[in-house]
């Protein structure tokens, strides 16, 4: 794998950054939050992003995507992460759409992904249950065989970007018990199906999330993804994809949080001098810089490994998520500390990064979880 952006990727990065500067400064996210916008993101901007080819950048050409890779998607998502743009790349593109790509038939892909790639619809990933934490198979939502189809019963929480989504990819269990690989089944369910109810949740980072309840929801045979009960292994791969998208976003966020901090160190005067002259702060800033650089390398390696289907992909994804979690938290904590009192106020942006750092750390596995996973994959 080549650990360098291609010329095309450099161009995408520039375009995305220009777009962010013009249309998605952090003030936009703040406004969505302050207005209590129930969607939490902009459907109009989502459509624009789709028209720029970003939503479908890693989706097959057959559904209107660009057929490119996660490495290309990561470049876009990183730019959006810089301004905490809340559009649903992780949940819709990284997880739900990835599941359809991974397990769906050509027909399923076309009918479900085309409206996503075009930006007309959003799909959400309904996976987490109150007891799931970071164990993907710790789910109890029941999928009972019913003729050719299934009936779903269960309750999903923190369904990211689930409020207002037109459909869900639901992880359920056709047999076995919570924690077992066997029995894991994935289904596509429209939000307006009978028995589906959606309740908005309010998260720390003001992102869109929902509790989605499935009460005797009938799923026809045509909406089963892959083979019922046999999708446990695919689930790992799908989550790896979603995780690298999240990592790319985190990379953008930590980079921007750090940029704000360094700028502040250069400007802010105390005791008659700029605080950036204090060696105590300098050395700490240099250490944050290093951690971000290392996180960047890990994310670049992870997206490329996922694209290549490299046998080390899962290890590299865990490496990236563990490092991004720690580095983003570090950048945010050091940022607030170096801003001092104003860093604690809602008025300054650094606190928004601190919230997003925490939310992304605790989504799809924290560093502790991913170190355990790394150890297991490394045979110790």
């Amino acid at each position: 794998m080549e650990m360098v952006l291609t010329e095309d990727q450099e161009l995408i990065a520039k375009t995305a950054q220009d777009f962010v500067n013009e249309k998605s400064p952090i003030a936009r996210m703040r406004a969505l939050r302050d207005e209590g916008d129930p969607m939490g993101y902009s459907r109009a901007l989502w459509k624009e992003m789709a028209e720029l080819g970003w939503v479908g950048i890693a989706l097959p050409e057959s559904v209107g995507g660009a057929g490119m890779g996660m490495a290309d998607l990561a470049v876009v998502v990183e730019a959006l992460g810089r301004s905490l743009a809340p559009e649903p790349f992780v949940s819709c593109v990284g997880l739900a759409a990835a599941a359809v790509v991974e397990l769906g038939t050509a027909e399923q892909q076309e009918s479900w992904l085309a409206p996503v790639a075009s930006g007309d619809q959003a799909m959400a990933w309904a996976h987490l249950e109150p007891e799931t934490r970071y164990n993907p198979t710790a789910i109890s939502t029941e999928a009972r065989q019913d003729g050719e189809g299934f009936v779903l019963n269960g309750r999903k929480v923190q369904v990211l970007d689930g409020f207002g989504a037109e459909s869900f990819v639901v992880v359920a269990r056709s047999h076995g018990s919570s924690g077992e690989l066997d029995g894991v089944s994935l289904f596509w369910v429209p939000a307006d199906a009978d028995g589906v109810s959606v309740e908005r949740q309010t998260l720390l980072d003001s992102r869109n999330a929902a509790i989605v309840q499935f009460d005797h929801v009938k799923v026809p045979h045509a909406s089963v993804l892959g083979e019922a009960g046999q999708s446990g292994e695919a689930l790992e791969r799908i989550i790896d994809r979603g995780t690298v998208v999240l990592c790319a976003e985190m990379l953008g966020g930590m980079s921007e949080a750090f940029r704000l901090t360094v700028d502040y160190l250069k400007e802010r005067e105390q005791f008659g001098t700029r605080i950036g002259t204090f060696q105590g702060l300098k050395h700490r800033a240099a250490r944050v810089f290093m951690e971000i650089e290392l996180a960047r390398s890990c994310v670049m390696a992870a997206v490329r490994a996922v694209d290549e289907g490299n046998e080390e992909a899962s290890k590299l994804v865990s490496l990236a998520k563990a490092r991004c979690s720690d580095a983003y938290i570090l950048a945010a904590n050091e940022g607030v500390q170096m801003f001092g009192g104003v860093g604690m106020t809602d008025e300054y942006d650094i606190g928004l990064y601190m919230k997003r750092a925490r939310a992304s750390e605790l989504t799809l596995g924290d560093a502790n979880h991913h170190r355990k996973r790394w150890s297991g994959l490394s045979n110790y």
Partner: protein, 401 residues
């Protein structure tokens, strides 16, 4: 029976007879203790009765002199009183900066007239105080403050803005640092002044924090007239008063964070261990995740080591040793343990720590998140960790500037 034991018994009897039943066992966090003051609101009217009864005995400020309404107790008696209240699960009748900050300062630096004017009202919880030190842009460089006090006869005319004034929106009086001489070394032109918040020209606007709370305010002074007799100590000698108070404040912060935690828990599990078992499960009597188990132990052990260090400083003081600049160490370590504890709490709760409010999260989970965000300010307020480290390096280790 010793005099102390006798006092203890009498106190217990009095407490049992006088503490209204409805307040027993009520747990007051920093935010909802009884702060008193003109604007005090009592959701439970018994709390007001309780305050009055305690104030009558002077036991809201048990060690202060009786001549100003205090309890006149010895340190040992006051400790016994506190222990009895804790044993009976009786909450304090009054909390606040009057008791902890400006009261002790007045007793040390105030004139007889000032003491007579303010101390009794503090003891009775009639006046709620706030602190006006920091200014916009001043940050750690406290002495760079710009709020001007220009003398006009028997009054000072104040213009400027204070930030980080805790609960200024609820306070009646403020104790302030103001610049009375702009032409000398910055520490030398500062005066310590008391101002009634109802004076014309004083206005307050709360600051919204990342935790979603607004415990702090900006306090603006526009041509505010303050009698010169409200100066504490001398004009231009405010820095000395402030430094004494800051050291006192840092020690209090130390007491708040962890000094008494982790003691005597013996066989019952700590709150953090219970929290960990709730979210991570239990295996053979242990927190199921051994890495988090180790982190819980680290935090508890840090807390205990810190508590022992605070105790050591107190015992040394009791034994007549001169206290050093340990307050900086207590400020750093106490706040950092608390911050680590909050981060650990959040990481243990995992996705359930992501709630801001509303469905899917219980009250405790929301509190875990908000408390963590609030805690990030601990290493900033009351003198940043960096400033404290400088103080240790210079005054304890004697490292050169």
């Amino acid at each position: 029976m010793s005099d102390l034991e006798k006092f203890r018994e009498e106190a217990r009897t009095w407490l049992e007879q006088n503490a209204p039943e409805s307040i027993i066992g009520v747990r007051f966090s920093e935010l909802d203790g009884n702060w008193g003051g003109r604007k005090a609101e009592y959701s439970n009217p018994d709390m007001k009765i309780w305050l009055e009864r305690m104030a009558d005995k002077g036991w809201t400020a048990p060690t202060w002199p009786t001549e100003y309404g205090g309890g006149g107790l010895s340190a040992q008696e006051a400790k016994a009183l506190n222990q009895e209240m804790a044993a009976l699960r009786i909450p304090p009748a009054l909390v606040g900066f009057g008791l902890t900050m400006i009261g002790p300062t007045l007793l040390r630096f105030g004139t007889e007239e000032q003491k007579q004017e303010h101390i009794p009202r503090i003891v009775r919880g009639e006046i709620r105080w706030c602190q006006g030190y920091s200014e916009p842009g001043a940050g750690s460089d406290l002495a760079s403050l710009q709020t001007r006090a220009v003398r006009e006869g028997d009054e000072f005319v104040i213009n400027g803005t204070k930030v980080w004034t805790s609960y200024a929106d609820k306070a009646d009086w403020i104790f302030c640092l103001v610049r009375t001489d702009p032409d000398v070394k910055k520490q030398e032109g500062i005066t310590f002044l008391l101002i009634d918040m109802e004076t014309t020209g004083v206005s307050v606007s709360p600051i919204l924090l990342i935790s979603g709370k607004s415990p702090f305010c900006e306090t603006h002074f526009q041509d505010v007239s303050v009698p010169v007799r409200n100066v504490i100590s001398e004009i231009n000698a405010g820095w000395t008063v402030a430094k004494a108070l800051l050291g006192h404040e840092r020690t209090m912060i130390a007491d708040t964070f962890g000094a008494s935690s982790g003691r005597g828990q013996k066989r019952s599990r700590s709150v953090m261990a219970e929290h960990a078992i709730r979210y991570l499960g239990e295996r053979e009597g242990e927190i199921a995740d051994p890495v988090f188990r180790d982190e819980v132990a680290r935090n508890e052990m840090d807390t205990r080591a810190f508590g022992l260090t605070v105790q050591r400083a107190k015992d040394a003081a009791k034994a007549g040793h001169q206290p050093g600049p340990e307050s900086s160490m207590f400020k750093i370590y106490g706040t950092e343990i608390n911050m680590r504890r909050n981060e650990l709490s959040v990481r243990i709760a995992g996705p359930q720590a992501l709630g801001w409010d509303g469905p899917g999260f219980d009250e405790e989970e929301i509190a875990v998140t908000r408390d963590w965000l609030r805690s990030r300010g601990n290493s900033i307020e009351g003198g940043t960790s960096e400033v404290q480290l400088n103080i240790i390096a210079k005054h304890v280790l004697g490292l050169p500037d």
